[in-house]
Symmetry: C2
DNA sequence: GCTTATCCGGAAAGCTTTTCCGTATAGTTA
DNA sequence: TAACTATACGGAAAAGCTTTCCGGATAAGC
């Protein structure tokens, strides 16, 4: 560990870093995939994605050997974005508000990205790591928000971050022909349950 | 329209009833599909199903023009079985017990049949009718159980049959690597919330 | 037993994903 | 700057799955 390779700890044998064109293509693919998945669902043909990204299919499959790898990468990237939103909210609002806002943000993610629910319930072992990733990234974020709100007396913690995270993830996953407010309503019920008083008649 | 067509009321123009070999094949296909879906998931190749059923692919696709039609049929059939369980439970147990037992039955269905969650969240419009079917078949069943339990004073109805049905369906949908008791625990939380008293400390 | 509407099986067509490999190029060294 | 090489690219071809098609079989009615 002399100088430039900051993280040559032992973890990764990775010899050299990626060529810049390769890096650019990966980026373009992820962006294109996000767009196409939103428009046409995660089952959209790979061709559509490569065309939009302006690369050949070979390039797609070199970086993401399985179709599921691409889906996984897109989802993980959106989970990261969700986690990154927490500190800013915590800094800008009172604990109770910050918690509510962040839950809104997370709810929107789950409700909007159909691909997430589809992947989770697909049964494909390729996605088995996703709940773990979610927990690992979002668990601490939610936990710190919960703790702050508890400390300020705005809520009583009666549920673990993990249980709450999963409950929201499941309740807000969109079902066809569903009242679009169902998820939000159920989460509100849950969160109301956390406020100090009794149940709201 | 002279005599023999016993039910020429106006409802159905259906000229004659299905040939017996056709009926038998449909039955065999549904049974085989149920087995294969359980073992290998709903994405298992059609060939596996037709082989197990002992028919050609042509036969499969005549009766179920789209792959999704077969999945839909298998799921609807299991929903029916769930609905049919309600009257027997209501007759055999006190209202509160009957309700709990039926929710167990429903929970087991949702938790066990991965195909159900997969279909619901797939985004494929072919499955858009499924929540409606669920509600139509299971709504009345649950509603009568809820009413009986409310009438006998065992619970206070604070949630509609529809909301409860969907909440259970969503909370119990299995996620990979999840505590296998998570769903049951969450449903217990919900049902406890319906009992007359306050929240159980 | 004969007729005919209905159904069957599996070959082939149509798509999508995934592999493969000759060609192109970024990065490096002199 | 020029040459060299490891790395990456593109798209044709292979592989696998779903869906269509149709000549041949057969249950149902007379």
């Amino acid at each position: 560990m002399s100088d430039n390779t900051a993280e040559s700890t032992a973890r990764e044998r990775a010899p050299r870093r990626m060529r810049t064109d390769a890096r650019r293509n990966v980026e373009a693919l992820l962006e294109a995939a996000k767009t196409v998945f939103s428009a046409a669902g995660v089952d959209a043909p790979a061709k559509e994605i490569t065309d939009l990204a302006g690369v050949g299919v070979g390039t797609l499959y070199r970086h993401f050997p399985q179709r599921s790898d691409l889906i996984k990468a897109v989802i993980e990237r959106e989970i990261d974005a969700c986690a990154d939103a927490a500190p800013a909210l915590a800094a800008a609002h009172e604990p109770g508000i910050a918690l509510a806002r962040w839950l809104d943000r997370f709810t929107a993610f789950v409700a909007t990205k159909r691909g997430f629910a589809a992947a989770l319930h697909s049964g494909d072992p390729a996605f088995d790591g996703l709940p773990g990733y979610l927990m690992q990234k979002l668990g601490p974020a939610l936990e710190s928000l919960l703790e702050a709100a508890t400390a300020s007396g705005e809520i009583q913690t009666r549920i673990s971050a993990q249980d709450l995270l999963y409950a929201v993830a499941k309740l807000c996953a969109p079902m066809p022909n569903e009242d679009p407010d169902y998820g939000r309503r159920m989460v509100a019920l849950l969160v109301d349950g956390l406020r100090s008083g009794e149940s709201p008649h």
